[in-house]
């Protein structure tokens, strides 16, 4: 089975959800012309990243009666979508969220579980922490969503793997930092290294979509990537430009790789669990 994956590394207008929605719909049309099955947008793609006191005013619910999501859900009849937004729960907690939309329905919503609140980041001041890492079934197999800092930690990808995700979809609004004499920024090299490592260690497909543009001097570099279960790069988007990057995933590669390299079969989850229990009881 083949999956035509598309990654839309867009720029966003800070706090202008309607303008960002219009851009989403435009990119969906472009990807439709290229026969994409699944189109992934970056973290907070409907809102922009450094929201601060804008958080409450840009929040939406991924439901048919929402004025923004009704358009995206309709568009998801043509292709599956992953979009980034601010989710507000029924008790008015605000989450950095990604929604997987397919066939007019919201299949899954992930709330970011690691909110960086250090250095140039201040997410914990403005957002509630997600408390679930769950894989979910799609028409292309079982997948998992993570958002930026979630996959700077090793445990969320590991949990998705054990929960059955064969395709991990990562989205970011990752401010580039660490200019030195190397070809790429330190932060970009770090993300590409770990993303490739997850694909290799979990013998899974890993796709990463990072936004582009600037917010008050923060610079977002793009550079979308897709790795196959052998850790080989299938596609690499440009840096610093809005673009759609396409990759055709041969899902049978999962079987061939895991027949050769049975890391999943041999993973000793009970050992992990018992040792974790011992460590936490210390």
């Amino acid at each position: 089975m083949k999956l035509n994956l598309a990654l839309a590394q867009i720029n966003t207008k800070l706090g202008d959800v309607e303008a960002n929605l219009a851009k989403h719909l435009d990119y969906i049309q472009q990807a439709k012309a290229e026969k994409a099955d699944l189109l992934i947008f970056p973290e907070l793609s409907l809102t922009g990243y450094v929201l601060q006191d804008l958080v409450a005013s840009v929040a939406h619910k991924p439901t048919e009666d929402d004025p923004i999501f009704k358009h995206l859900l309709k568009a998801s009849n043509d292709m599956d979508l992953v979009v980034g937004f601010v989710d507000e729960d029924s008790r008015h907690r605000f989450f950095i969220a990604s929604a997987y939309l397919s066939g007019g329905k919201t299949l899954h919503v992930h709330h970011k579980v690691y909110l960086p609140t250090y250095g140039l980041f201040d997410e914990g001041r403005f957002f509630a922490w997600g408390d679930q890492v769950r894989a979910f079934d799609t028409r292309f197999g079982r997948m998992g969503l993570l958002i930026c800092e979630d996959f700077w930690h090793a445990s969320p990808p590991y949990l998705l793997w054990l929960d059955g995700a064969d395709l991990m979809l990562f989205s970011s609004a990752s401010p580039g930092r660490g200019l030195n004499d190397k070809e790429k920024l330190e932060s970009a090299r770090w993300v590409e290294r770990v993303t490739k490592a997850y694909a290799s260690m979990f013998t899974s497909f890993v796709a990463h979509c990072n936004r582009v543009g600037y917010e008050d001097g923060l610079h977002f570099g793009g550079g979308a990537t897709v790795f196959d279960p052998n850790g080989e790069e299938l596609a690499h988007g440009p840096y610093n430009l809005e673009a759609i990057t396409y990759a055709q995933l041969d899902l049978n590669q999962l079987r061939r790789t895991r027949a050769r390299l049975p890391l999943l079969r041999d993973e000793r989850t009970n050992l992990t669990l018992s040792e974790l229990q011992r460590i936490l009881q210390k």
Partner: protein, 274 residues
């Protein structure tokens, strides 16, 4: 100890050009204005602005004082000719002299501050006349050391250079083919005869950039910087300058009395809505 300040100049150029383009155009402008002193920082800012906006959309303003070094004007002209930017020369002598004459004891420092602020006034006036945003020229070294005039040369609408140390500015300027006389001369504010930055500061940019890189970027403690080979007095002098000049890097504090105060809990980026 890593004190390698080498940068990938092509990547730096790409990010900074994109920054200028983004910050200017997202608020509906297409043009920029900057003061061209004949020195390295403003030359680099000008070259970056031209790459971002096109030569016809950049106004480089020379603002000499009667005692300014002729080299400053000539070097600025070299860059103007090379880049083909829009240009104006507005002498500030007759603007600042009346203020100097009010007090016979006006020190060089006061005169320097007055000239820097007068240039800011001219630049912001040209900003309105040319419908262009003012591009800053302050680098990370001078911002950290507070080696600037508040509301003078530090005033701008955006600053593409503020996260690059002076030695990195040199690398990028060389890569962007800034004329050799500008690259090679000793950095100077040219506020009085024979003034150079390094003479006035008491150390070279080469030395202080290495130390600043460890203290700021690599988060070394003062003791760790000394253990890495920097002289104790030098480390303490630089650390004291960084602390003493924090006020120059901030907006003035607002006394908080209400439930929501600008700057504390009324938090929006400048790029809000764009």
């Amino acid at each position: 100890m890593n004190t390698n300040l080498d940068i990938n100049t092509e990547l730096a150029r790409e990010i900074l050009v994109g920054f200028i383009k983004s910050e200017v155009t997202r608020v509906g402008f297409s043009r920029a204005v900057l003061g061209l002193s004949g020195g390295l920082d403003s030359a680099l800012s000008c070259a970056l602005a031209v790459s971002a906006l096109g030569k016809e959309n950049v106004l480089a303003v020379r603002m000499p004082y009667k005692l300014s070094n002729q080299n400053s004007l000539d070097h600025a002209q070299l860059l103007i000719d090379q880049l083909g930017v829009q240009t104006k020369t507005i002498e500030i002598t007759e603007m600042v002299e009346p203020l100097f004459k009010l007090d016979a004891d006006t020190s060089n420092l006061r005169k320097g501050n007055i000239m820097a602020r007068q240039r800011m006034i001219v630049l912001y006036d040209q900003s309105e006349a040319f419908k262009g945003l003012v591009i800053g020229t302050s680098n990370k070294t001078e911002i950290l050391l507070g080696y600037s005039t508040m509301y003078g040369d530090s005033a701008s609408a955006m600053n593409p250079l503020g996260d690059l140390y002076k030695t990195q500015i040199r690398q990028l300027a060389r890569a962007m083919h800034i004329p050799a006389p500008i690259l090679d001369k000793a950095p100077s504010a040219d506020l009085w005869a024979d003034q150079t930055d390094e003479k006035e500061l008491g150390f070279t940019y080469e030395e202080v950039d290495q130390l600043l890189y460890l203290l700021i970027d690599q988060r070394y403690s003062l003791q760790e910087a000394q253990d890495a080979g920097f002289d104790e007095k030098f480390v303490k002098t630089v650390a004291a300058r960084i602390q003493r000049n924090q006020f120059k890097r901030m907006l003035p504090p607002i006394a908080k009395v209400s439930n929501r105060t600008i700057g504390y809990d009324f938090l929006y980026l400048r790029d809000w809505g764009t």
